[in-house]
Symmetry: C2
Subunit: 142 residues, 2 copies
DNA sequence: GTCGGTGCAAATTATTTGCACAAGT
DNA sequence: ACTTGTGCAAATAATTTGCACCGAC
């Protein structure tokens, strides 16, 4: 399925959840569908302004909060102050952050997650969610 | 070694690194040595004020930054806005955060770290540091 | 005595909110 | 129509910084 269709799907799902699909929300959903990276609120605001300059930063923040509550996006607090977002769907994964460029690479390891569960259980806990971030730099071949 | 002695050791090490051991810094180092938990700047400020009310919040922040640069403490950005600190030393470990109480439990898994390295390597990266946080709640026995 | 450190208040940065008006259903 | 959403500007919250004085070495 292409990105435009995916964006429409999200709209439908939100509409069903009783969320009004306003112009700013359409624009933001489209941006989130099209992006490959993990933009922060200001970045989303900038991209949104190119499509519709009347959108405000407040609306971006309010929409991100709404989408997070509805489970449509995930919020990350990587190093560096601002929160960064990515659309949900596409399965759970963790992140490897390039400390030189800020690039984010997604990965997933069932083995690590199994070990996490084991550890939590042995400490008398049940994991609700977790955060695994690897910070590193490109290995130069020798 | 007891906590007071440990605190003195930190003082010596910092002094050798060319850091002046002022009254506020002594107080903050002592607090960090004595604490079992992971306090934020405001909490450290409050505890410091009980020992010496003339200490300012700015100094707490400045000292935390200094100690972090010197490698004497680690800064964590657990959920909930403010940064939290813990003294370094005592070996690397990760954290399990109780989402009901905010309590932090430390743990370490060589197996997970080995897997992390493996994953990073396969992606062409070298890990500089990582962050693994498990958020969960106490398991009730059945 | 010198230079780095401190307290205080003001500045920054990221995010949130009150309000009057606009727009989705 | 009714209610929710929006833009704007002002409010918060966490942290940082400029400046004149103070204290560690």
């Amino acid at each position: 399925m292409n990105q435009a269709a995916q964006s429409k799907d999200y709209e439908e799902e939100l509409r069903r959840a009783g969320v009004r699909i306003t112009r700013p929300r359409q624009v933001i959903l489209r941006i989130l569908s099209e992006t490959e990276d993990h933009p922060d609120a200001m970045e989303i605001f900038n991209r949104a302004c190119e499509i519709d300059p009347s959108i405000s930063l407040s609306t971006v923040y309010r929409t991100m909060k709404l989408l997070e509550e509805k489970g449509a996006i995930h919020r990350h607090a990587f190093e560096g102050g601002r929160a960064r977002f990515e659309q949900a769907g596409g399965g759970h994964h963790d992140h490897l952050i390039d400390i030189d460029t800020g690039d984010v690479i997604e990965f997933h390891s069932g083995k690590i997650e199994a070990l996490q569960d084991e550890i939590a259980r042995s400490l008398g806990y049940e994991i609700v969610y977790h955060k695994l971030e690897l910070y590193g730099r490109k290995r130069r071949r020798r």
